[in-house]
């Protein structure tokens, strides 16, 4: 009895064979990061540095001139960025980074390589 009931429920019209093969879509675990997101996250990370908590950060501001950091504070700021984005900035490049914008650009380029 039950078997007949089930059989009657089964849809009569079947889908055409071709449409059952769905075109494969490549999906990523994480969407590629945008520049705005890099900027937002790096500003948030920089705010955690003790010397930068009350300063106005913008992309053009220089760590040593505008934000009045000493060299060790700059290192701390860059290490905070490294922690936020989980990368290691080599010594040579860290020495050359003078402004927030340069750091953001470097991080954005590195994120594109992933």
């Amino acid at each position: 009895m039950f078997r007949f009931a089930v059989r009657s429920v089964r849809p009569v019209a079947r889908l055409p064979v071709a449409s059952r093969f769905v075109q494969p879509i490549r999906s990523y675990a994480v969407a590629p990061i945008t520049k705005d997101e890099v900027i937002k996250r790096s500003f948030e990370a920089l705010k955690t540095v003790a010397a930068l908590q009350e300063s106005e950060i913008s992309l053009e501001s220089s760590f040593q001139k505008d934000l009045a950091l000493d060299s060790l504070d700059t290192v701390e700021a860059l290490v905070a960025l490294e922690e936020e984005f989980d990368l290691e900035i080599p010594d040579k490049i860290s020495d050359e980074i003078k402004t927030v914008g340069e750091a953001v650009n470097y991080i954005f380029e590195e994120e594109q390589k992933l």
């Binding site: 060299s71 060790l72 700059t74 701390e76 290490v79 989980d86 990368l87 010594d91 860290s94 020495d95």
Partner: protein, 106 residues
């Protein structure tokens, strides 16, 4: 590396590099943020205590001290960011090469 005078750019670079190394070593050893933050503050006070040295002989001595301490604390298995070269996730989903792998008409 013996002729670097205090308060020059070369010295700044050297000390920054040491400071960065010290912070990374501290993280390698703790791997916990709260412990690491405390260590970070400690390292910063250690470096700040020697920030006023203007005698190059003392400076060399202090820097040699720092280097030996860093060598002593060097972690055997330092933290490598997973997605960067040497990390566990690095190039895990690498793209296939564009050229055909098996030549011939199949």
């Amino acid at each position: 590396m013996s002729n670097i005078l205090p308060f020059t750019e070369a010295n700044t670079k050297r000390v920054s590099s040491l400071f960065r190394q010290a912070l990374r070593t501290a993280f390698d050893h703790s791997m916990k943020w709260d412990v690491y933050r405390r260590e970070q503050n400690k390292i910063r006070t250690l470096f700040d205590a020697n920030s006023k040295i203007d005698d190059s002989k003392t400076l060399e001595k202090v820097i040699a001290n720092t280097e030996s301490k860093l060598a002593q604390w060097k972690h055997p298995d330092p933290y490598i960011p997973p997605c960067r070269p040497g990390g566990t996730k690095y190039q895990r989903n690498a793209f296939l090469p564009a050229e055909e792998k098996v030549s011939g008409d199949w």
